[in-house]
Amino acid sequence: MVATDLLTQSVVNGLLLGGIYALAALGLSLVFGIMDIVNLAHGHMLMVGAYIAILLFTATGITPVVGMLLAMVLMFGLGVLLQKVLLKHVVDEGIEQPIIVLFGLALILQNLGRVLLGGDARTADIGLPGSGIDVGLAYMSFPRTVTFVIAVLLIVLTWAFLQYTKTGQAIRATAQNRTAAKYMGIDTDQIYVITLGIGTALAGAAGALLSMLFPIDPYVGWSYLLKTFAVVVLGGVGSVIGTLVGGLVLGVSENLGALYLGGGYRNVVSLLIFLVVLLVKPEGLFGGSGGGE
């Protein structure tokens, strides 16, 4: 048997990590729900965001918390560019073309990462003073706590943006019914540009946060893509609350899997959860509407 304190520590770490997974998945879920595209390059975008934070930290010592903001701005630009130059040709044209375009983009980003930064894993330190919190049975380390709080804050901000701003309402209207939204005078092409920008920026933010906790190498893209998609499937496409819960569930189950089966099975656990949920309840545990086949 595994000792109780080890178990609670795993659960706490899993919850804290799950917050970041939820943030990463929110971007994927948003794009899927609104544009009906699974961004196969989402994990690679996360990797690029992480590298922006790492480079800024190693070059200037600026904390990745600030680097995250820079990553978000740059990645928003990348998302806008991607939609305006490439995806506008293939969005709403069936599934083959978008899948292949984004698969190609993932290859390009992975290659860029490898050539410009080398194949070795890199990481950034949080670079801020502070200490962890002891919550009795477990210990919440400082970087894990800070990144969790930031991730949840960004999720709440995104939710509020979708809920209360005019643009947010237009985005939700487009998700519900693109044609009807167009008739109401919404510039849906522009909505797609903004949506992909936000989705990409959120991936960048999650990457910057992860760079404070785990080493990042150019090949992490695929595994983060599958993890974030697992969260989307768990939470249901388009549901912000579902995504948050899905992220926490994935974080905890991954840590428990690693604890009981050994570190090598950490990723296998998340992939199996993903396949099982996809097959048993494809609309997600919290069944959102919109998006998907």
Binding site: L107, N111, G264, E293
Partner: protein, 346 residues
């Protein structure tokens, strides 16, 4: 050039001409091991492996419309299962299960087909994006588990395969593997041709074009998806088994890696998805790019591949074959863009 003149509405690519070209190509390939260097023979063998991967992925994705991102798993499992049978001791299996290479290769392919047969009914509950990402996850699970089972796969160190088919001094092991690969490629191409030109191929195209409509007309989508998936996995398994016994070394990290899926995609998309001749053009161009360009672009091969598939799928979705088709075959290509039925009647 009477050969290249055509009357209006007539096609230059008659069945007989195309078959003749195929026979000529095979005859030329037979001479390759005797007329070129070992490294060039190996290169062309790799090209044949790409043709098999492309033809098989095209059957599933181009004809049946199921965009699988897990093709590498079937290639890799074909490689590993056949390697376990020819070299059982390296995986800790008893020596008594050792089989000759010619038996081990089809068994490796059958193992891949069996995996597809078992997984198919489950994974085909997913459609569209979910199917694509489900197959990607499936391949990732298989890769991770195989990598972890160091006893069976050699882990990150890899697995050395024993095989020596050389005949005397004159014909090396690589040459024999070349002929085996050539035979397998021809068989793959002929069988796939029969499938896509027959009623099964028609069923696949029907569910590709409109699954609901086909279903309401009595075409069972799952049946045709399964045909495509099992056949496609079998061919990918052969390709993997042959490649393993040519290179004599496999590694869960590289043999099961997503790279093989990428290669299959690139071959098909450059050549023309859903066209029968596409993968041949695609494999040819890809081989040139892979070797010719690697000298120029160095470490950027992946990015070049990414850029190419993006540009092709957006601006030239019918691929290289589409270009050739416009000039040589006919004005009115069918939806698949393959050899038209009216051409065959000639």
């Amino acid at each position: 050039m009477a050969l290249l003149e055509k009357a209006p509405g007539e096609s230059l690519a008659t069945d007989r001409r195309v078959q003749g070209l195929g026979v000529l190509a095979v005859l030329w390939l037979v001479t390759v091991p005797f007329t070129t260097t070992d490294s060039l023979t190996g290169l062309i063998l790799t090209g044949l492996v790409f043709v098999m991967l492309g033809v098989s992925w095209n059957l599933l994705a181009g004809y049946a419309g199921q965009i699988s991102l897990g093709h590498a798993a079937f290639f890799g499992m074909g490689a590993f299962v056949s390697a376990w049978l020819t070299t059982p001791s390296a995986a800790g299996f008893p020596g008594s299960i050792e089989l000759p290479l010619l038996v081990a290769i089809p068994i490796g392919a059958l193992a891949s087909a069996l995996i597809a047969l078992v997984i198919g009914p489950v994974i085909f509950r997913l459609t569209g994006h979910y199917f694509a990402i489900g197959t990607l996850a499936l391949a990732a699970v298989i890769e991770l588990v195989m990598l972890d089972r160091r006893d069976l796969t050699g882990g990150a160190t890899g697995y050395y395969v024993n095989a020596d088919l050389s005949i005397g001094e004159a014909i090396s092991h690589g040459d024999v593997m070349f002929f085996l690969t050539l035979v397998a490629t021809v068989a793959t191409v002929v069988v796939t041709y029969l499938i896509v030109r027959g009623p099964t191929g028609l069923g696949m195209k029907a569910i590709h074009d409109d699954e609901d409509a086909a279903s309401s007309l009595g075409v069972n989508p799952l049946k045709y998806k399964m045909y495509a998936f099992v056949a496609s996995s079998f061919f990918a398994g052969i390709a993997g088994a042959l490649y393993a016994h040519f290179s004599l070394y496999i590694n869960a990290q590289s043999t099961l890696a997503v790279t093989w899926t990428v290669d299959s995609l690139v071959v098909v998309i450059l050549g023309g998805m859903g066209t029968f001749a596409g993968p041949f053009f695609g494999a040819g161009l890809f081989l040139l790019l892979d070797n010719g360009l690697s000298a120029i672009v160095g470490g950027w091969a992946e990015a070049v591949e990414g850029i190419l598939i993006i540009l092709f799928i957006i601006f030239l979705p019918s691929g290289l074959y589409g270009l050739v088709d416009d000039y040589l075959v006919s004005e009115t290509a069918d939806t698949g863009g393959e050899m038209d039925a009216d051409v065959a009647d000639d």
